[in-house]
């Protein structure tokens, strides 16, 4: 008597790519707006970026229902934090919360691949990169999702990250200006769109700096 197996999967991959780059006084978080399932495009205009706090944004790709549930969870937790501490959560604090939230479901994971971007309490840009079960690291830049394998090596080449083996640890934050970083992000997505079928339609860029938050959009190939 063997146990019957479910003929449905609780997971789906709705595709998409996310990128984040940290600068001296800014942080750029970007993701495409295509939502797919298998070989179908479900919609061309779905945002994968959530604003968790005033100076903290998260871009997530993977299984959309899990991504949305994760965003709602963190938004709710941030609201409670504000009620209890009378201030916004710092980006490193949110980073730890996200890690703990993901690991909490270690044995039925959120199929979400996240990059968290924001300004730390000194106003410097910070980027945290995650796997699906909460393992995370602060980095100067990162990409996740279906196009990450295409984008990450390019970012490594362009942003000349110092070796993590150096002591004392060298700052990984890029010396690029804000507009140079935005151009770099646009280039990354234009390239990834060429070769990754799940990336395309439109690019959404969120820029966080001392003045606040602003959004930019760029059309991508729709094929």
């Amino acid at each position: 008597m063997t146990k019957e197996h479910a003929n449905w999967s609780p997971y789906d991959n709705n595709g998409g790519t996310c990128v984040a780059i940290a600068g001296a006084e800014y942080c750029v978080v970007a993701a495409d707006t295509r939502m797919s399932s298998g070989y179908n495009i479900l919609t061309r205009d779905y945002s994968k970026i959530a604003q968790l706090a005033d100076k903290c944004s998260m871009a997530s790709s993977g299984f959309q229902a899990d991504v949305r549930a994760l965003q709602k969870h963190l938004e709710a937790r941030h609201l409670i934090y504000q009620h209890q501490h009378n201030k916004q959560m710092s980006t490193p604090a949110m980073a730890q919360l996200l890690s703990n939230t993901l690991y909490y479901k270690r044995f039925f994971p959120y199929y979400a691949f996240n990059v968290l971007g924001g300004l730390d309490s000194q106003g410097k840009g910070c980027v945290f990169t995650y796997d699906a079960v909460g393992s995370y690291e602060r980095v100067g830049y990162s990409s996740q999702g279906s196009g990450s394998t295409l984008i990450m090596p390019f970012l490594d080449n362009q942003l000349k990250s110092p070796s993590p083996l150096l002591l004392p640890a060298k700052d990984a934050v890029t010396p690029l200006s804000e507009s140079e970083a935005i151009d770099l992000v646009k280039t990354c997505f234009a390239s990834a769109t060429e070769r990754d079928i799940y990336t395309g339609d439109k690019l959404e860029i969120v820029i966080l700096n001392a003045e606040g938050i602003r959004r930019e959009y760029m059309e991508l190939r729709k094929d």
Binding site: K3, P10, N14, L42, F63, A65, R68
Partner: protein, 240 residues
């Protein structure tokens, strides 16, 4: 409905969980048009490969501002309608002049579907939720694992494969009612030709700020007079 077992893995609980659908409805298509939302679904309820039921209403109004269309397991749809009844009842009992809009109903349905998926006991449906409130049009969809989105046109099942491409080409902002109906009928005709679970008895529903109207059932004209069908064996000699 809730099982009283202590573990998700015990065999007692297993007999309570959905494994596969039994009586199913096929595609639902929804589009935004000038005055609101247009939605279409046929009236078939298939039992596997048998077209068992031919008068199933797969679209229903929800509250004052919304319309739900469902494909997939019909009994799960009826369950969802009971949930929505409770939701709209509680909403009107507040008696505060406010009523649930389509965005809120869609969000509620998304949470219900996702939470059932988390418990490995899904409602085996793909839902289309459309509506208008205070002049704002809304059209969204959610499926059995909780994947959801809104767009100017949505479709479930085969509709995603056959109707969406037509809609991507021919839908535009501010469609008139007549043009919208023509567009949906074009999509349904293609589905009739190509989806084996489609039946030629459909309803079109319209929702505007004034309210919901669901049409009487009717059929589409189909065309089979292609010359290739007249003499099907022409050119077959010598081939396998």
């Amino acid at each position: 409905m809730e099982n009283s077992s202590y573990s998700l893995l015990s065999s007692e609980a297993d007999s309570q969980r959905t494994l596969y659908p039994y009586v199913t409805g096929t595609s639902v298509i929804g589009i935004k048009y000038k005055d609101g939302i247009l939605m279409v679904a046929d009236m078939g309820g298939s039992y596997g490969s048998t077209l068992r039921y031919k008068s199933v209403e797969r679209m229903k109004p929800v509250g004052k501002h919304s319309l739900i269309g469902a494909s997939g397991e019909i009994s799960d749809f009826q369950e969802i309608l009971r949930y929505l009844d409770e939701l709209t009842l509680n909403d009107s009992m507040w008696d505060d002049g406010n009523s649930l809009g389509p965005k809120e109903v869609h969000n509620y349905l998304t949470r219900v579907m996702y939470n059932r998926r988390n418990k490995f006991n899904p409602l085996w449906n793909s839902l289309v939720l459309g509506g208008v409130k205070n002049g704002q049009k809304y059209l969204g969809t959610v499926n059995m694992i909780g994947v959801h989105y809104e767009d100017n046109h949505v479709a479930t099942g085969f509709g995603n494969h056959l109707a969406r491409p037509i809609l991507r080409d021919e839908w535009h902002e501010n469609l008139s009612f007549e043009d919208g109906v023509k567009l949906l009928e074009k999509c349904m005709r293609v589905l009739l030709y190509r989806d084996r679970s489609a039946v030629n008895k459909l309803q079109i529903a319209k929702i505007t700020d004034e309210g919901v109207t669901i049409s009487q059932p009717y059929s589409l004209k189909t065309f089979w007079n292609f010359s290739a069908f007249q003499n099907p064996t022409v050119g077959a000699e010598g081939s396998w």
